[in-house]
Each structure stands twice: as C-alpha cells, then as structure tokens.
Symmetry: C2
Subunit: 213 residues, 2 copies
C-alpha cells in the first residue's frame, strides 16, 4: 500500500520532469541538478564556478531550500539571474516545483541552468526535475563511509566534487577508500578534489563543466 | 491532495510512536532520538558517550541507515547491545521500523536506548519514534547558516551538539551567529561544543545526559 503511493508520486513526477526537459531542450539550455548534504558546499562551489565561467557562457540558477533566501542572495551578488524556491518542509525539489518557477527564469538567454537542490544526501537523487546531468558535492569532513551508506546519490551523479580538501591534514578521512567506494557504485563517475575556500582544483572542474554545455 | 496523504502518514506514525513510548515507559527506559546530517558525527558521539557512561548505566542502541552495517559494527565494539535498521531508500526512521526491531532489543535490561537516525537534517525531525527526547549533532564545518535553513530540527531538539570544534581555526564559521540563530528558533535548547576527535567538551555532554535518565 505504502509502496504504491510512492510509485505513483515518482511516476507523476517523471511525467512533469519530461515536460521540463522538453522546454530546456527547446531553449538550448544545459541543466545541471546539483545535490549534496547540508553544508557540503554546494552554494560555495556554485559561486566559484559562476565567477570562472560567466564570461564564457550565460548561467542561471534556481536555489532550493526548506526556508530562507540566503543562497539566492549569495548567488545574486555574482550578477547571474537566480530564483529561490522554498519547499516549506519538503526535503527535495521535484519537477513541479521547477515547472512553477520557470516563468521567472530567462531560459532563452541561458546556456546553462544550475538547480541547487535541498541539502540532503537521500531524496533529491530520487526525484528528476528535467535535468541533463546530476552532480554531487561531498565535503571530505563528512567521512569516507558515505558512498556505501548513501549509495543512490553516488549512482545517479555524473560527477562527484570532493570539497574542503584543504582540511585534509586536520581530519581522519581515507580519500582513497572514498574514491574506491564511489567508483564501485558508479564506474563512470568523474571525481574532482577541490577547496572552495582556497580555490584549489576548481579550474579543472570548471573546464570540465564548460565542455559539457 | 498531496498534503492529505502526508497528514495521514504522520497521524498513523504518531499512533505507533505512542505505542512504542508506552513500551519504553513500562520497561523504564529513557529513549533518545539522535539526529543530524550525514557526517555530522552522530556515531562518533555515540561511541564516545557510551565509553563515558557505560559503567554508570546500561545503554542500548538502534542504528538507522539507508544501507550497510558500518555504524552498528562500530557500536558493537563498545560492548553494548546494538541493532541495525536498513531503511532501503527511506530518508528517516519511523515508529513502525522501531516497533519491528524491538523484539531484538533487551529493553528490560536498559536504562537508556539511543536511536541513531538516518543522516538527514530534514525528515527525521518530522517522524516521532516514541522517544523521550530528540537531540541533534551539527558539525561546525556545515556552516553557521544551518539553523535558519533547516529550522524544524533545531526547534524539535532539546540539545544541539556542535561537533568538530577542533577545526574552528581552519574554517570560516561564525559560532556566535550559529548559537544565536539556534536559540532564536528554540529558546530552551542546550548547546554543547565538542570534538569527538580530541575529546574536548564531551564530559559536560555526558554528565548532562546522565542526569536525564
């Protein structure tokens, strides 16, 4: 009974995601669904990425949060168009939430739209929003046990950005195990080691992203 | 329509949580629902707490994870009884999951049962499991913006354990703002600054917990 309800929700979401996808394709926009746990550094990565790429492409952002407009305000200072979704209590974005705000997004003017999902290592991976690609940010302070404990997001993501690499000397984390377990779940996953604080590793990530649009 | 479904699920959960609570009371067990984002340090805090308190009380643990038995294995080495729940895909524990495993928990022998929830800063706060108290762990590496972005968990928690305080010199985080925003959401919240790596601050937390049972 419970499973049936969940299946129906996912099916209904899938249909709306397909409609969004069609609109994105018609407008020629590449859409990235950026996921990760709270505090992994999704907004920081986005700020840094926008500054690196905004002279080469037109980027737009949809920010998803339970509450507040902090993230949209941060993105706003980079000068790119941004819309904030507040989910109320929902722990993930879904296709309908994206559809509702698309009137506020200048799709025709964009090359890339980044949708920053709610901070959560679980449910965002289950709900498509019409994206071309999913990517995830994991702070290395979260520990090397995360891939095997939260497998779906690692399986769904084309790229894994390991953030806060500058803290490596100060914490107990086995990056090799983390990488190995992520690859065991998803052989094609691209892994980037970065620090949004020091800027380390961000060029490689930005160049890769630039090559996708 | 969607809201109705959610309401029903929460109501049904509430009834089972009440049944669990009754069983806990009859057995004289104090039950703590320990929540927090992935990698905040819930299991590390639990390991440290058990070692500090196990000569003074009988502690049991229920571990909740999407997948894997890593956390239960870690707790097992401390010598206290532990049961692992794998939720499959669900991003939180609910009352029925707890009920299902209570046959494996020696309630009559325990003074305190700690239920470590799935790593998630959102949904675990919505689903009661029959606990006497909720507490949350937040790694300071997650940033000071978390209370206002994930308000419910801060509102529901009697205690906020700020973990990884040893990393303070290496990161950009405003602990005063974090504390202030947490208190603005929940005036009575007890805040503990700890490092599960160095052991700093853990005595105060353990003594407080010991006083509750």
């Amino acid at each position: 009974m419970k499973v049936k309800v969940v299946t129906k929700i996912l099916e209904a979401n899938e249909r709306l995601a397909e409609e969004n996808r069609k609109r994105f394709r018609e407008a020629g926009v590449f859409v990235l669904n950026l996921m990760g746990a709270p505090g992994a550094g999704k907004t920081s990565l986005l700020e840094r990425t926008i500054l690196k790429l905004k002279d080469r492409m037109n980027i737009g952002v949809i920010e998803g949060d339970i509450a507040g407009t902090d993230d949209a305000e941060r993105i706003n200072t980079t000068g790119v168009p941004v819309v904030q979704i507040n989910t109320g209590g929902a722990c993930h974005l879904d296709a309908n939430m994206i559809r509702e705000v698309l009137t506020e997004v200048p799709l025709q003017d964009l090359d890339m739209l980044v949708i920053e999902n709610v901070g959560n290592l679980v449910c965002p991976a289950e709900f498509k929003v019409g994206e071309d690609m999913k990517a995830m940010v994991l702070s290395i302070t979260e520990g090397h046990d995360k891939p095997l404990k939260y497998p779906l997001m690692f399986q769904e993501s084309a790229a894994l950005v390991l953030n806060k690499i500058d803290l490596l000397p100060h914490i107990d984390v086995d990056i090799d195990k983390l990488r190995k377990d992520a690859i065991s779940l998803n052989h094609g996953i691209k892994i980037f080691e970065v620090s949004c604080r020091t800027g380390e590793g961000l060029d490689r990530w930005a160049e890769w992203l630039n090559g996708l649009k």
